[in-house]
Subunit: 269 residues, 2 copies
């Protein structure tokens, strides 16, 4: 199915990552306004959000990502799901309050992995929801894994899987910084990279020093770049990835008359 935009609401973009179950209220509302703006331009949209401070705490406490190592892990699995579905409920509610016909679609139950590799998904349901004129809102979730019992399925894996199955034109990552920088954005002389060209062999045109900085400081940018690489290479350039600030101005973002203030990642043939 044709999808104009998959939007990722990053965990650090819409929640305060180190404060248990704490929202970034203004950021979430702005993200919803941007979505509404796209819909007014008749874009077909899928939203995927991270967990941030909803779920991560419980997942870490019970080491859910290691599988069902004990009976305790099962309760930890459930409590992690309670937290991420709570965030999903809040985000879907906020979207509705902003006039978006949003519906939550958990991965649990439908998605399954074997040794961390997706072997089952519910993209046919996502597409059915889109065809009925709704905005599906998926999220990072705990799912069953046929090898270890369970894993944490990341929002990025969900985006990559949807991109493989569908004809997705744009993938936007909303983050808590303006885009991808040549070094940690906390460094005074860090420069925003406006364009990154990805080659078939995964090499990129820019030197990015994420590896040398704390991954939390950069908001998991390295993983984001890896996901972006997969998307543009797998689609052979049909999909373009954008990384930008969740507080971007809804009226100018991706307006053809204005300059995009963020990072564009494209496939270089």
């Amino acid at each position: 199915m044709f999808v104009d935009i998959i939007i990722k609401f990053g965990g650090s973009a819409v929640t305060v990552k180190d404060k248990l179950e704490t929202l970034k209220d203004d950021e979430l509302t702005n993200a919803c306004c941007i979505v509404k703006n796209f819909l007014q331009h008749n874009k077909r949209i899928v939203i995927v959000h991270g967990a941030g401070s909803f779920g991560h705490h419980q997942a870490k406490q019970f080491n859910v990502n290691a599988g069902f190592t004990s009976e305790d892990t099962k309760l930890g699995f459930c409590m992690t799901r309670v937290s991420v579905t709570k965030l999903n409920n809040i985000i879907v509610n906020r979207l509705c309050q902003n006039g978006v016909n949003a519906v939550g679609i958990p991965a649990f139950g439908c998605w399954k992995t074997d040794n961390r590799k997706v072997i089952q998904h519910n993209i046919e349901i996502v597409n059915d929801v889109l065809a009925n004129g709704f905005v599906p809102v998926l999220h990072g979730d705990c799912v069953f894994d046929t090898t270890s019992g369970c894993i944490i399925l990341s929002g990025d894996t969900i985006i990559k899987t949807i991109s493989k199955q569908n004809d997705v034109r744009n993938v936007i990552f909303f983050t808590d910084v303006d885009g991808i920088y040549d070094k940690s954005p906390q460094d005074k002389d860090a420069k925003l990279i406006s364009d990154i060209a990805v080659e078939e062999n995964r090499s990129i045109s820019e030197d990015i020093s994420t590896k040398r900085s704390n991954i939390d400081v950069t908001g998991g940018m390295e993983l984001k770049i890896d996901t972006a690489k997969d998307i543009v290479i797998d689609s052979q350039g049909r999909s373009t990835v954008f990384v930008c600030n969740v507080l971007s101005d809804p009226s100018t973002i991706f307006n053809t008359d204005s300059v995009f203030n963020g990072t564009i990642i494209r496939f270089k043939k």
Copy 2:
């Protein structure tokens, strides 16, 4: 799959029906304690809950049950879902807090009806979740209908569908009264009926005056009896239905040494 017990948390049992999104806290906790007690006796359990004051208000306001009559209805559909999934999150959380490995499984997306008749469901997922040692928690939800666009799928329809597909031994309805009475339980001389025998032709052994009383006063008992009839007739007596108070003592309920204080509905061959 063999299921020991499907438990319905009635909307009026765990929420204050006429107060928007208001829980009955003690009742919900007691229901969770009863579930925990059953699990300690190694029972395989499915929970289904109603909406009560979560969802009903929004569904009524937007007339969601009539289908997608306007673009507004779509937003009403989404807002109804936000409310019922909020209740699901609260119930699953409370179950976890009581040591139950509970996971929410919405009907939306997976279940579909045609002209109000179920043509698609996710019982294979429910069974997978059971086989993995978890307690699935389903709920009344809004789903797509191929004729009218959408309908409200009741928890009772979900229970009947699961009962048809599985080998279900007991179905328990938790309500805000002690069981089924011969007239409205608010009448001073109303008597609790301890046993109801249902015949193949749907006739029952007792004269119940629900038709003559306000359906809200009796807590929708007529619908409950109809659901119970379907379950015991469809299963040809393999399933027995119990109606009892959500505040029943967790340690004595269905204890073979104690008398069951409620209504038992059985198939009469």
